[in-house]
């Protein structure tokens, strides 16, 4: 009996979180959001999908005749499932650090902006120039003009309760 109550509470709470996040981007208060904001919403709820995974989700959410909008009634069940199944889990800090270390082939302990740019705009799911610029502005140490990735990672993963 107690268990059932808890499960329901969790679902309700989860759905309220989803609803809140959705509302933030629902500019006209009519329970729709621009499809281009879906990625932001999903990620802000604590998920780390890749771009490809995101595209799949969006494809599921779009209307048969794409209007450019996603309705809440469709978003809610999909997102609830994602959260309850804990899909797209966060990336642990040490794994992230390793990733940077892999890029740092010469084991310098830091990365040059050009190096990082090359990797992130050419490999994997490439960054746009804008994304790259934004990341650099946060990551580059202004005095030494390099990316001290160890510091960067710990700074970025320090977080509020999500």
């Amino acid at each position: 009996m107690a268990d059932k109550y808890n499960a329901e509470t969790i679902i309700t709470e989860t759905q309220k979180r989803i609803s809140n996040a959705f509302d933030v981007f629902d500019h006209e208060s009519n329970k729709t959001v621009d499809v281009r904001e879906i990625g932001t919403i999903i990620r802000s709820l604590g998920c780390f999908p890749s771009e490809a995974e995101l595209h799949d989700i969006i494809a599921e959410l779009e209307e048969e005749e794409p209007t450019g909008f996603v309705r809440y009634e469709k978003f809610l069940p999909t997102m609830t499932k994602i959260l309850l199944e804990r899909k797209f889990r966060p990336i642990p800090e040490d794994l992230l650090l390793q990733a940077f270390e892999v890029l740092d082939q010469q084991k310098k302990g830091h990365l040059e902006p050009e190096e990082l740019t090359k990797y992130l705009t050419q490999e994997g799911e490439p960054f746009t120039q804008e994304e790259m610029d934004e990341m650099l502005s946060a990551a580059v140490d202004p005095d030494k003009n390099v990316i001290l990735y160890k510091d960067f990672v710990s700074m970025m993963t320090f977080d509020d309760n999500q």
Binding site: R17, G124, D160
Partner: protein, 691 residues
């Protein structure tokens, strides 16, 4: 490559979280602003209430009639005598700019430079400048026309006319200087500079939003005269500018009236410029501004084919007089003549204006009531198409919705929302934008941290101001009075009490900084952690205090209205009366003794009158976090005296002007306007479009 993929995936999530936080700050400000608008509605409800309920008991009647006193008995000619500057002497010690008329370019340059150096123009010159402006504006039609054509038979139009779109004041602390510079340019280039009236060019609104205070503070001897003259000037400002007969903003009356769902709540212009809504019961709640043309709340830069609306201003005035007469207040003699005809023609126009005031575009077709703002509607692309086509117009340009990027097209590019004040809520909250009839230009600007901090501070103040209601609500969930509630219940309670439509769950993380284990929060402690500094006062009456905090800005407006001679002081008696009326209207219970205590506690001079400024300061809430630059203005905190990051913006302004084309719409932030105007001056000089 897996490593790259991982980093990208992680970074994108980080960026999304940031974006969410930015959006939330944004929503907070908007929400508080909208609720501030609703506050203004409350203010006007209060006035309506007064009109209905004042008794013939002499003291109350005097107070009410005093507030609504028609002081405009003079003719213009008489006023001119009043405004005469000639007897005002300029002392030798005065180091500010001297003006001579007719103005020359070097005069105006000197003026702008002086303001940049934080100097003040002497009252004599102020009155002189304003007087000339008034004279000029009285001759102008209500709607000015601009043509950008290069071939005209008789005269060659300037290639770069400038249109300034209203709402020049009430933001920042240099509204007076901005106005003076704008008027100086107007006098210098009357055919090339066009000023439109905004809803803040209205003395009632100025009472609330701070311009009145600014003027009185800067010009202690002549401030009242200056304000009166400004009132005259405002009522003469053109409503709008039509450009090339193609780019306008059209009213959209018909669709809206059909869709009107709730006449009572719909459309009370909170800034009270004018209006009415559909139910005649509200008619008396008019602006108390004399001769205010029916000015949209939106800054409609170019206007309407609705040329008949020329003289609606006067009729608001007459309507008001008629109402007062009916209510038995003091009257002026010619009211009866006009009132009858007036009522017919205006109802329609007012309704239309009201719709325009409140409406925002939406993406779906149709027309539905705008519940967020409490008035007007949301209209869809189909309405736009119908209306623009009907009037053979190309583009509707409107504003009043602050856009993060400063501008936004919608409805297939036929509607453009332009919002010119960057950093509207706080540094980095949004970008300002210019329009030229062509591609738009956007400055790039991002400062997530500070905006968010301001937004959260503003929110904390709101929470604190509702403390007793919140505690009552919390206690519903804590019947055993343990002092603890769950986070879930906290969220529900806050949502219910504050009635700000915000994503509380998302914000909770930043507002509740220390919940204990197992998700239970000690709510008394939590109030302390909001770090809101309460004024140092012996007033123990909690409900009185909370009324003060909650209705802070409205209170100030009311007091300033009572203070008709702008002395900055009101008597004990007036203070007392106001509170009695207010508490009866709000249906709170405030005893005579509590009011007397309150009055005494703030009569710092002990001379039987209360200084309004001192009063408002004494009961202002502040947050304790020390960010010297972020000073919010009471619970409806919006005016931040944060330092605008002048450097990047000025660079942008310059780059904008490098690509200057036809028409400019300029925003109204002090530094930016000054810079902009300086550059404009240079442009006008070099392009040789002088008079």
């Amino acid at each position: 490559m897996r490593a790259a993929l991982l980093i990208q995936r992680w970074y994108r999530q980080y960026a999304a979280r940031l974006e969410m936080r930015r959006r939330c700050s944004w929503n907070i400000f908007q929400s508080i602003e909208y609720s501030g608008q609703q506050d203004h509605i409350k203010l006007y409800n209060f006035f309506g209430y007064l009109m209905d309920h004042f008794t013939s008991a002499s003291s109350q009647r005097n107070l009410v009639s005093q507030m609504f006193r028609e002081s405009d008995a003079f003719q213009d000619v008489e006023w001119e005598k009043q405004f005469c500057y000639k007897d005002i002497e300029v002392p030798d010690a005065y180091a500010g700019p001297h003006l001579s008329f007719p103005l020359t370019i070097s005069n105006v340059t000197e003026l702008v430079d002086a303001f940049k150096n934080k100097q003040k123009l002497h009252a004599r010159y102020v009155l002189q400048l304003l007087g000339k402006t008034w004279t000029l504006l009285r001759l102008m039609p209500n709607i000015s026309h601009v043509c950008t054509c290069k071939h005209k038979e008789i005269t060659i139009c300037a290639e770069t006319p400038y249109v300034f779109n209203g709402d020049f004041v009430d933001r920042g602390k240099e509204s007076m200087e901005i106005l003076l510079v704008l008027f100086a340019f107007l006098l210098l280039y009357p055919h090339d500079v066009h000023l439109n009236r905004g809803n803040h060019e209205d003395h009632i609104v100025n009472l609330r939003y701070g311009f009145t205070k600014e003027v009185l503070g800067k010009y202690q001897v002549h401030g009242k005269m200056i304000l009166k003259l400004l009132q005259k000037i405002f009522s003469c400002l053109p409503l709008a500018t039509v450009i090339d007969q193609k780019f306008v903003s059209a009213l959209r009356p018909l669709k809206r009236r059909e869709a009107s769902a709730r006449p009572k709540e719909a459309a009370l212009d909170p800034d009270g410029d004018d209006d009415d809504d559909f139910s005649t019961g509200r008619r008396r709640v008019q602006s108390l501004t004399h001769g205010t043309p029916v000015r949209p709340r939106q800054e409609l830069p170019r206007h309407s084919v609705h040329s008949g609306s020329g003289r609606t201003g006067r009729s608001v005035d007459e309507e008001l007089r008629e109402r007062r007469r009916l209510a038995g207040l003091s009257l002026s003699s010619d009211s009866e003549l006009y009132s009858a005809e007036v009522q017919e023609t205006d109802a329609d126009e007012w309704k239309q204006i009201v719709d325009v005031l409140w409406s925002d575009p939406m993406s779906q077709n149709g027309c539905v009531p705008n519940e967020v703002r409490g008035g007007g509607c949301y209209w869809g692309p189909d309405v736009t198409q119908e209306v623009l086509d009907r009037h053979k117009l190309k583009l509707l340009i409107r504003s009043h919705e602050c856009k993060q990027e400063g501008y936004e097209f919608c409805h297939n590019g036929r509607v453009l929302t332009i919002f010119s004040a960057s950093n509207y809520y706080d540094v980095g909250s949004n970008r300002g934008a210019y329009i030229r009839l062509g591609p738009d230009l956007i400055p790039h600007f991002k400062h997530v941290g500070r905006t968010e901090r301001s937004a959260l501070q503003a929110l904390r103040l709101q929470l604190f101001a509702h403390k007793s209601a919140l505690i009552r609500e919390f206690q519903e969930y804590d019947p055993q009075c343990t002092g603890l509630i769950s986070l879930k219940h906290w969220t529900v309670a806050v949502e219910k009490v504050l009635r700000l439509s915000l994503p509380w769950r998302v914000l909770r993380a930043q507002l509740v900084t220390s919940s204990s284990r197992d998700g239970m929060l000690n709510y008394h402690d939590w109030f302390n952690q909001l770090s809101v500094i309460q004024p140092n006062t012996e007033i123990a009456n909690a409900s009185l205090l909370e009324t003060l905090y909650k209705h802070h800005s409205n209170l100030e407006s009311i007091f300033r209205m009572i203070d008709t001679d702008h002395s900055g002081l009101i008597s004990f008696e007036e203070f007392h009366q106001t509170w009695k009326l207010l508490s009866s209207h709000l249906q709170t219970d405030i005893s005579d003794k509590a009011i007397a205590d309150l009055a005494e506690s703030i009569d710092f001079n002990k001379d039987g009158s209360i200084d309004i400024n001192e009063f408002m300061e004494a009961f202002r809430l502040r947050t304790g976090s020390v960010h010297v630059q972020d000073v919010t203005d009471g619970v409806n905190g919006r005016r931040s005296s944060a330092e605008f990051a002048a450097a990047p913006v000025n660079a942008v302004v310059k780059s904008v002007f490098d690509r200057l084309d036809v028409v400019q719409i300029v925003f109204n932030d002090a530094d930016q306007v000054t810079q902009t105007l300086l550059l404009m001056l240079q442009m006008l000089k070099t392009e040789g479009s002088g008079q």
